[in-house]
């Protein structure tokens, strides 16, 4: 190998290493932080910190979806300048204007187990759950109908259908 061949090789390897360095430098941590903060405009409860390309998110969000969504926004905004995201966001649902949904049990297996216990003291009545709806049949004295309805409602079904019941 003579000198004429070595020089271009050296130049080439220099270019490669120079290229690698320039690619690695990219945005400074401060610039990356600004860029991400811009992308997160409107999310005032979220803090962004960048150190050596690692983005740390802290603060609170109102839902799990928002948490995941923000992480994706950060990844998109940071693109290749971002090494990784440390997501320390806490989900803190708003208090006051949301109430827990009403629990309705639509699992027939669970309902049927409950029904068995509930109607044990109504020997003239049978009941079965289908798609969360309890349908009772048989005969029952009028005075006991309310009690039957109470024990069946206690199981939180979608509906209690007593229309198949003969009331004496």
């Amino acid at each position: 190998m003579n000198a004429k061949k070595i020089i271009p090789l050296l130049l080439l390897s220099g270019a490669i290493s120079f290229g690698a360095i320039s690619c690695k430098s990219g945005l400074s941590d401060d610039d990356l932080e600004s860029k991400i903060e811009n992308a997160l405009t409107g999310h005032s409860t979220v803090d962004v910190e960048v150190e050596k390309g690692v983005v740390t998110l802290s603060g609170t969000v109102t839902s799990q979806e928002e948490l995941t969504n923000l992480e994706n926004v950060v990844k998109t905004a940071g693109a290749k300048d971002l090494k990784s995201v440390v997501n320390n966001l806490i989900v803190n649902p708003p208090v006051g204007n949301t109430t827990a949904p009403i629990i309705v049990n639509s699992v027939d297996e669970a309902l049927n187990v409950g029904i068995k216990d509930a109607i044990k003291d109504f020997p003239t009545v049978t009941a079965v759950a289908t798609d969360g709806v309890i349908k009772a049949s048989g005969t029952l004295e009028q005075a006991h109908v309310q009690h039957l309805k109470m024990v069946l409602d206690k199981l939180n079904p979608k509906r209690v259908d007593l229309s198949g019941l003969t009331i004496k």
């Binding site: 109430t99 827990a100 009403i102 629990i103 309705v104 409950g114 068995k116 216990d117 509930a118 044990k120 003291d121 009028q142 006991h144 109908v145 309310q146 009690h147 309805k149 109470m150 024990v151 409602d153 206690k154 199981l155 939180n156 079904p157 979608k158 509906r159 209690v160 259908d161 007593l162 229309s163 009331i167």
Partner: protein
């Protein structure tokens, strides 16, 4: 919103008689009602109002599950069976062996609630076991 309109008196009664954590919503055409009544009397009153609007509960457009706040661990509860004795069982379920009985009208101690349906109780004779909650009422 038809069922909300139909059962307005029931919901108004629940609100005015101090039912806590009152929740109601129409779901699949059925008015679902949940809450905690301050006493067994209030709970019974609600059922009376419901029965006046829908005689014999035949329409099936309401599911009402209302607890009573005084029915807490350590309180006394009365057996309110239709006529028979109330079985006290080893565990929470009718498949469990019977370990004792409480007479209709007997007052027993509520020790804890295994779930909405089965409560752990103790009689004056120190019989301990699980009873079906629907047959117990606070005194």
């Amino acid at each position: 919103m038809a069922v909300l309109e139909k059962y307005k008196v029931l919901l108004d009664t629940a609100q005015s008689s101090g039912v806590q954590n009152l929740q109601f919503a129409e779901q699949d055409g059925v008015l679902q009602i949940r809450g905690t009544a301050p006493s067994a009397d209030v709970k019974n009153k609600l059922w009376e109002v419901y029965g006046q609007i829908d005689p014999n509960f035949l329409t099936g457009d309401v599911v009402m599950n209302v607890d009573v706040s005084t029915e807490v661990a350590g309180s006394d509860v009365k057996v309110v069976t239709e006529s028979s004795n109330l079985n006290i069982r080893k565990g929470p379920g009718t498949d469990q062996p019977i370990v004792g009985k409480a007479a209709k009208g007997e007052v027993i101690k509520l020790i804890s609630k295994a779930n909405d349906q089965w409560w752990l109780v103790r009689t004056k004779d120190n019989e301990e076991g699980y009873c079906y909650a629907q047959y117990l009422e606070s005194v």
